[in-house]
């Protein structure tokens, strides 16, 4: 099943002279149970794409299929509550996500709406808070009395608390410190591997997500310019500058290594540890060869 975009376009203010086309004829398939990274230069339509995933925006052309639901342009959408129960969306700006009077209220809003008892809701709120590494003393604060990073963590926690099947996050790492960012990615990776969740992450820091993502989508000017596995992304890296993106450092290293040693068939090593390990191996081989010649 998964998620399928078929010829999807989205235009803001479609019926006005100020219309802005944000997506054009997008065809994407996002596999279920996989971790997908979405990248693209700013204004390329990533946030718009994500909002189509849980029916917050409805396509102005084409069809979006999520789980067993079809959202088609021009058709009356089906009831969306079940969809939202299963697709949790973290917005780009946490300020837009948090609206309740206290953080606790905010975190339990989702679970309560989806029929959890107050105790269950409080429990999942605390669990999500802990997962994001926030202190319980913040629970009684107004969401706007948090620091920028804490607010973002709170916004992510509010979605984690609902325990959705599909987690969709719009630049979750922006304004987080690096260790929090790494922890977040590991958390999402674990949710994906161990609990079979589908995770979709928009990011500008491709290198940080590279070792974890199964698939990548690169957006460019409202179109899906690339989609495929990390391996395919490495192969297509030469085109990234055309899409307004820099080639991520791990890919650059790997491609040089690949060229030097002819490793094109191999699964690329894109984390520092894995890459170093591979380099060390290769060099040992070199050393052995040299010794053999000597």
């Amino acid at each position: 099943m998964g998620i399928l975009f078929e010829h999807v376009s989205y235009t803001y203010d479609a019926r006005s002279p100020l219309r802005q086309t944000a997506l054009q004829d997008v065809n994407i398939r996002l596999a279920e149970g996989a971790l997908t990274g979405i990248a693209g230069s700013s204004g390329s339509g990533k946030s718009t794409l994500l909002q189509l995933l849980n029916g917050i925006l409805l396509p102005t052309e084409g069809t979006v299929k999520v789980l067993d639901l079809r959202l088609s342009a021009g058709e009356k959408p089906p009831k969306l509550a079940p969809l939202r129960r299963r697709v949790g969306l973290v917005f780009q700006f946490p300020e837009q996500q948090l609206f309740a009077r206290t953080l606790e209220e905010d975190l339990s809003f989702g679970p309560l709406n989806f029929g959890a008892s107050p105790e269950e809701a409080a429990h999942s709120a605390r669990k999500a808070l802990a997962a994001m590494g926030l202190c319980e003393s913040l629970l009684l604060r107004h969401p706007l009395q948090l620091s920028g990073g804490q607010r973002r963590k709170a916004a992510i926690a509010s979605v984690l608390a609902m325990d959705p099947d599909i987690l969709v996050l719009d630049e979750p790492g922006a304004t987080l410190d690096q260790v929090s960012r790494a922890e977040l990615i590991q958390l999402l990776h674990r949710l994906c591997r161990e609990e079979g969740k589908t995770v979709i992450i928009v990011t500008h820091r491709i290198d940080e997500l590279l070792p974890y993502a199964d698939r990548w989508v690169i957006m460019h000017e409202g179109r899906a310019a690339f989609q495929g596995t990390a391996r395919e992304l490495v192969d297509a890296a030469g085109k990234l500058p055309d899409y307004g993106l820099a080639v991520p450092e791990p890919i650059r290293w790997w491609r040089e290594l690949e060229a030097a040693y002819g490793l094109q068939a191999e699964e690329p090593c894109l984390s520092p540890a894995a890459l170093a390990e591979r380099i060390a191996q290769l060099m040992q081989m070199d050393a052995r060869k040299e010794r053999a010649y000597a």
């Binding site: 230069s41 300020e95 450092e249 060099m283």
Partner: protein, 317 residues
């Protein structure tokens, strides 16, 4: 401790700057700072608490010289944004003394100080004043009493440099995250303030926009007219600056050069940073016995080795 308490009481009595309420401080230390006109920013033992009890900024002292580019780093929630808002009087210190460009921050001087500071806030959403990006940029420039021609010239120049030239007519709300952030930045930079404070102004920019921004900042810094204080979690930006102030739970714990920060595991842990990819790679290689000293044959490995030499990395980690 006593001084802080007194300050807090005063805060309660007069929550606004408009009233003439002097901050209780040691006048001498302040005068001393004010004398050193080369200091753009001078903080002396400043404390602040949102709730009046738990210090969110705790006895912070530092100085930034004119023309310097300083980064403020630290974990989430350690007080960086609070520090920046204290700087231009949006929040009011409960004790201690802040002076900007030799002027002490107090009720009477607030206007003069704000003229000197340009600040980009962490959340770009609520800082747009104009109904279009262009109007928004013009707002600050009109306040500087520039003539229309100059305003137009600056708008085109800075918008062009930040790649938002085609968005000038848009309503700020109709921009994507990164576009908003660049628009907010452009509005401040166009004012060419003496002291520029950027609170995670690049957090939603893509790699390319980020390097364009850095390039612009480098240029501005090169002119030596500007003092920059940037708050960031981005290694690239930290490297571009000259000095890093590291904060931890409201205190200033270190004041080091960027490459020293990345060599100091202890500090990195405190501000929850990780070295950039190539340093991590170098470190991993080192752990596996691949160092500059080892003869490396493969053509490819040379760049890493060069990097290792560049950062002079050998056994410090």
């Amino acid at each position: 401790m006593k001084a802080r308490k007194a300050g807090r009481q005063q805060e309660r009595a007069a929550p606004e700057y408009q009233g003439a309420a002097p901050v209780s401080v040691d006048k001498e230390t302040c005068a001393q700072h004010a004398e050193e006109a080369a200091d753009m920013v001078a903080w002396d033992n400043v404390s602040f608490a949102y709730d009046g009890q738990h210090a969110d900024i705790d006895g912070v002292s530092f100085t930034i010289r004119k023309g310097e580019w300083v980064t403020l780093a630290g974990a989430n929630g350690c007080g960086k944004s609070t520090l920046s808002r204290l700087m231009n009087g949006l929040l009011r210190a409960s004790s201690g003394c802040i002076s900007i460009g030799g002027i002490r921050l107090e009720a009477g001087t607030l206007g003069a100080i704000r003229q000197k500071i340009g600040m980009v806030f962490q959340n770009p959403d609520n800082q747009f004043i104009g109904a279009t990006v262009e109007e928004d940029m013009a707002f600050g420039l009109e306040g500087l009493c520039l003539d229309a021609e100059e305003i137009g010239e600056r708008i085109t120049r800075y918008a062009g440099r930040l790649g938002i030239g085609h968005l000038l007519r848009r309503h700020p709300q109709e921009l994507s995250g990164g576009q908003k952030q660049r628009a907010a930045l452009a509005a401040i930079l166009a004012m060419e303030p003496e002291l520029i404070i950027l609170d995670e102004a690049s957090s939603m920019l893509d790699e390319k926009a980020r390097s364009e921004m850095l390039e612009l900042l480098r240029e501005m810094h090169g002119e030596a007219r500007y003092t920059l204080l940037s708050i960031t979690h981005d290694a690239e930006e930290i490297f571009a600056s000259q000095r890093v102030l590291v904060m931890d739970r409201g205190r200033l714990v270190a004041d080091v050069a960027p490459d020293m920060l990345f060599r100091n595991g202890e500090l990195l842990r405190l501000c929850r940073m990780e070295p950039p990819f190539r340093l991590q790679l170098a470190r991993e290689l080192e752990q596996r016995g691949v160092t500059a000293a080892v003869g490396v044959t493969g053509a490819m490995v040379n760049p890493v080795v060069e990097e290792i030499r560049k950062w002079a990395f050998c056994s410090s980690m």
